[in-house]
């Protein structure tokens, strides 16, 4: 099984040719600065792409592409690999022509240019965004092979923008009666979602233009999107053109037909917006192969829509015994946290799991626990503990245990 063992054998001929024969880059002159005014990854990184899951949707514009979590590090998602979810396709909008409107239960309806929004007091914060349908395909059974397809509707960025409450106060918002805010996009779908006023007054909801130091990417809502920390991605309305303050929720298409949770008995839970505590091991993970026995660093991501991650435990025996993982700093509220833990693989089958706990004390559930309340026919908000089987031949597979 170890036929593919790692390429660092003790040399027989006096040494590794990669050392003894100096490569071109050691004996020549390289390329100049600003050859790429905006640089790109190495050509050897071409395997890292966001990808569609075959057969998941019938069109590409009402669809999703998944981030390659199996090959990512730390907590920042490279903007070029940020997952995508569009309902009516994406656009590259001229920001000088984009307008933002506030209306409804405010003293005065208002209009802003991008220039003006960018003059207001801004905040910069790291937050994860996860589609409510992330890990949906595995609600019932194992359906896809890799963490890209099981958990890849997940990304984390540093967002910069203006707290929505700043803009609402500028318009003279009626905080006594205004309990729900409708956010509306400027694309074809003009995505609409209801946002709780209590989350807005906390200052957490941001009208964002910046992402990872630069502007939002077109696929992620350039030039303006709502950032609703802890809440499923569909509420992070892209190409944001308008917010309306009201006294009742709006039951828009994506909160009255989708993004609802079907419970045993046939009732739907509506307005299930929160992304509860969750984690996943990203390496080793499904579709990978360990080339050798010996030492490995198990690493993964943990997050919670309710605040900071408090701890992550890792099991290599399918959940019988657990060890506490190291959390990388910073551990931020409603952001991804990166965990690492040592592991020596003895070459025998192993089932790797991670289990996160957030600062509210909530512990990520097993599939059994989750299904005992919500059944198996829900689509959204699957935050169950993920299992990866490491086989004797080194191959890692997506499995569920009982």
């Amino acid at each position: 099984p170890m036929a593919m063992a790692q390429g660092n054998p003790v040399p027989t001929e006096g040494g590794d040719p990669n050392i003894l024969n100096l490569p071109e880059h050691t004996t020549g002159l390289g390329q100049g600065v600003a050859v790429e005014g905006y640089g790109k990854p190495s050509k050897f990184e071409a395997n890292l792409q966001r990808r569609q899951s075959p057969g998941l949707t019938q069109t590409t514009q009402a669809s999703v592409s998944f981030a390659p979590l199996q090959s990512l590090f730390g907590i920042v998602t490279p903007s070029g690999l940020h997952f995508e979810r569009h309902h009516q396709g994406w656009w590259d909008i001229d920001p000088s022509k984009h307008r933002f409107m506030i209306n409804g239960m405010v003293k005065k309806n208002m209009v802003f240019t991008m220039d003006e929004i960018m003059r207001l007091p801004s905040v910069s914060r790291f937050h994860f965004i996860e589609c409510g349908a992330n890990t949906a395909v595995d609600w019932g059974n194992v359906a896809v092979p890799t963490v890209q397809y099981t958990h890849g509707m997940l990304s984390c960025s540093e967002f910069t923008g203006v707290p929505l409450i700043t803009l609402l106060e500028l318009a003279g918002v009626d905080l006594k009666n205004g309990k729900f805010v409708l956010a509306e996009g400027g694309d074809g779908s003009s995505m609409t979602r209801t946002i709780p006023m209590s989350l807005i007054t906390s200052g957490e909801v941001i009208v964002a233009y910046g992402q990872n130091g630069e502007m939002l990417r077109p696929e992620n809502g350039y030039p303006l999107r709502l950032v609703v920390p802890g809440v499923q991605g569909v509420s992070w309305v892209k190409y944001l053109r308008r917010v309306e303050v009201g006294d009742k929720p709006y039951a828009s298409k994506d909160e009255a037909i989708h993004y609802m949770d079907l419970q045993p008995g046939g009732l739907h839970r509506q307005y299930t917006n929160l992304q509860e505590v969750k984690s996943v091991v990203t390496t080793p993970s499904g579709g990978q192969v360990l080339l050798d026995k010996g030492f490995y660093n198990i690493t993964g991501l943990a997050w919670s829509g309710k605040g900071k991650i408090k701890r992550v435990d890792v099991s290599t025996d399918g959940g019988r015994n657990w060890r506490q993982a190291r959390l990388e700093t910073p551990v931020l509220s409603k952001a991804l946290s990166r965990f690492n833990i040592d592991w020596v693989w003895d070459g025998k089958p192993a089932i790797i799991q991670s289990r996160a706990q957030d600062e509210t004390g909530h512990v990520q559930p097993t599939y059994q626990q989750l299904r005992s309340v919500r059944g198996t026919r829900s689509i959204y908000h699957n935050n169950a503990i993920q299992s990866w089987l490491v086989q004797e031949n080194g191959e890692v597979k997506n499995v569920q245990v009982s």
Binding site: F44, N47, S53, P54, A62, Q70, Q88, M101, N103, K108, N109, M110, V111, V142, V144, Q148, L170, A171, G172, F180, L182, T192, P196, S198, R242, E244, G246, A251, S252, A256, D261, L262, G265, G266, L267, H268, Q270, Y271, N273, L274, T283, G287, Q288, Y296, G305, G319, R320, N321, R355, V363, P365, T366, L370, V373, V396, N398, V399, Q400, V401, S402
Partner: protein
């Protein structure tokens, strides 16, 4: 009042501007423009602008999941779609799920037809909505849907009683939800479960269904991608 805090930033919206963009329609029909449209007119709209994607009877799954089907006369009485409780029922149509007729009106008005959103007249939206409701046997063939009678239609929506906000997953305090999360796993560290058994995994024939996984992992790293074009080495 707060205007002085940020001088020079923003201006009042004009009534025309608000009218142009404020198109949302709420479950209590706030925002619904006056107007009407018949099932018959709706059929024309449907067949010329909708049917090639959604099917003549809203049954097509070729572009998106089916819109119509799975609801019964009994559901219209109870306001609960019985098929949602059948785990053997294949798929869930739009009409099985939606509780609020405003949602249909609002969404068709803002986003359909898919390639040409916001192109329908108010009459066309009323009528094509009426036609869809007719396909689902909620309104009769000769119905004319309008802002006056839409509340009556709401009272016949098959899944109108199918929603609950009694859960812990609304991130605010606006609904009388529950506080306690559904699950209460514990931080157990030793001998937490019996020997685990494999309950679900991908069948062998799906090995390469997502493309060659070797090409979906970095070429260096602690683990490489599995070459799924080859059978698994035993």
């Amino acid at each position: 009042a707060q205007g002085n805090k940020y001088p020079g930033v923003g201006r009042d919206a004009t009534p025309k501007e608000v009218a142009k963009w404020d198109i949302d329609v709420r479950p209590d029909f706030k925002g619904l423009p006056a107007g009407s449209g018949s099932v018959a007119k709706g059929q024309e709209v449907w067949e010329s602008k909708c049917a090639h994607c959604h099917g003549v009877f809203g049954e097509s799954g070729e572009v998106f999941s089916p819109l119509i089907g799975g609801t019964t006369a009994e559901d219209i009485k109870t306001g609960r779609v019985a098929n949602l409780n059948r785990s053997d029922y294949p798929g869930r149509t739009t009409l099985m799920k939606v509780a609020t007729v405003s949602t249909l009106w609002d969404y068709i008005n803002r986003a359909m037809p898919w390639t040409n959103p916001k192109s329908l007249t108010t009459e066309e939206v009323y009528s094509v909505t009426a036609f869809m409701l007719n396909l689902a046997n909620i309104v009769p063939d000769n119905y004319v849907l309008s802002d006056k009678n839409i509340a009556e239609v709401q009272a016949r929506m098959p899944n109108r009683n199918g929603m609950t906000t009694a859960h812990a997953m609304w991130p605010g305090n606006e609904f009388a939800g529950v506080k306690k999360p559904d699950t209460a796993n514990k931080v157990c560290m030793k001998d937490c479960t019996p020997e685990p058994k494999l309950a679900s995994f991908l069948p062998d024939f799906a090995r390469n269904a997502h493309g060659n996984l070797l090409e979906q992992n970095r070429m260096v790293g602690a683990q490489h991608g599995v070459d799924t074009t080859k059978p698994e080495p035993k």
